[in-house]
């Protein structure tokens, strides 16, 4: 970390910056891939759904089944879009918050903990939307959501929320002490 002066920003650790940049890059690639391969992705999801009629509650009546399949594909598409959106946002959140922690948190242990939570939580959380999307054709909308919640959203999202509030309180305390 660099410390050119008391009113200067300090650079966050390189792994945090790398995680943020990779996340933003993945978001951009994900957005482009969604547009470029929309038809292929939809076809793949549809074929997997049709291969698992019991999982999706398909009854063999075209009118009913088409509605169920459409709904699952809308959610599949929404998961990809939410990955794109959240990965773009969380990349910037990681940079802004780890830079703040690196500069304003005095205790080495606390600074390290906050930065690790923000980096790991921020980088992992958006991946939950990819996982949700990928699992929808195999398990259905709600079961896929439960898996993504347990494996990714709750642990990684929880880490980000705890670290963000921790950092906010530390900065608020510093502001109060100064004034």
């Amino acid at each position: 970390m660099t410390a050119p002066g008391s009113d200067a920003w300090r650079r966050p650790p390189l792994p945090s910056l790398l995680a943020a940049i990779l996340l933003i890059a993945c978001a951009e690639v994900g957005g482009a891939a969604m547009v470029k391969f929309k038809l292929e992705l939809t076809r793949w999801a549809r074929s997997v759904i049709l291969a698992r009629p019991a999982t999706h509650g398909l009854v063999g009546v075209r009118d009913v089944d088409e509605q169920v399949i459409d709904e699952a594909i809308v959610k599949f598409d929404a998961g990809l879009r939410l990955f794109h959106l959240h990965a773009e946002g969380m990349g910037l959140v990681i940079i802004a918050t780890t830079m703040t922690a690196a500069t304003l948190v005095r205790s080495d242990g606390v600074r390290r903990a906050v930065i690790v939570l923000l980096s790991a939580g921020g980088a992992g959380y958006p991946v939950g939307y990819l996982l949700w999307s990928a699992l929808i054709p195999y398990y259905g909308v709600e079961p896929a959501k439960t898996i993504a919640e347990r494996l990714i959203w709750i642990p990684f999202g929880g880490a980000t929320i705890i670290a963000a509030w921790w950092l906010t309180v530390l900065v608020a305390m510093r502001l109060v002490r100064r004034s």
């Binding site: 959140v93 703040t100 929320i161």
Partner: protein
Amino acid sequence: MRRPPLAVILVGLFVIALGETAGAVMSQLRPQISGSAEARIAANPQRHGLAGSAEYDTEVIARAVYSAEAGLSFFHTHAQGLGPLVIFASTVAATVVPWRRARGALHTLLALGGLFPLGYLVYSVAVLERGRDAGIGIVERYVLTPLGSAVIVGLVALAAFIAAERRRGRAA
């Protein structure tokens, strides 16, 4: 790069933390949120134009609940975007703008504008308490437009100051 005043950084962090928490709350408590929204609409039947006809009222209630949930969703996404924006743009102001008063004005505008996402929280509440169209109208006029304008004016002024500083540097 110089860091902006602590108060401005705190606004950015506070908005990010609130936005992240709102996302988790929306995901985990969606049925409870919908239920309490429906209860608030039922408590304000005149403001929502409920007619007592189940078919008509169901549609009106669904639209109002959808708008209230959309407000929460907009709050989450805007907070994630504007929190870092406040920190980065105020860093540019602290680093590039040499005039103290101008810097102070920019930091004030950016910090105020950073509160823009909170307008969507007010939006959600106003939709339920004042009726969908009236609530949205009030919040757009008195909360979203002023706060959104603050961030727009702040960013345009920052661009103007960067251009002025560049010209000054060339002249020197």
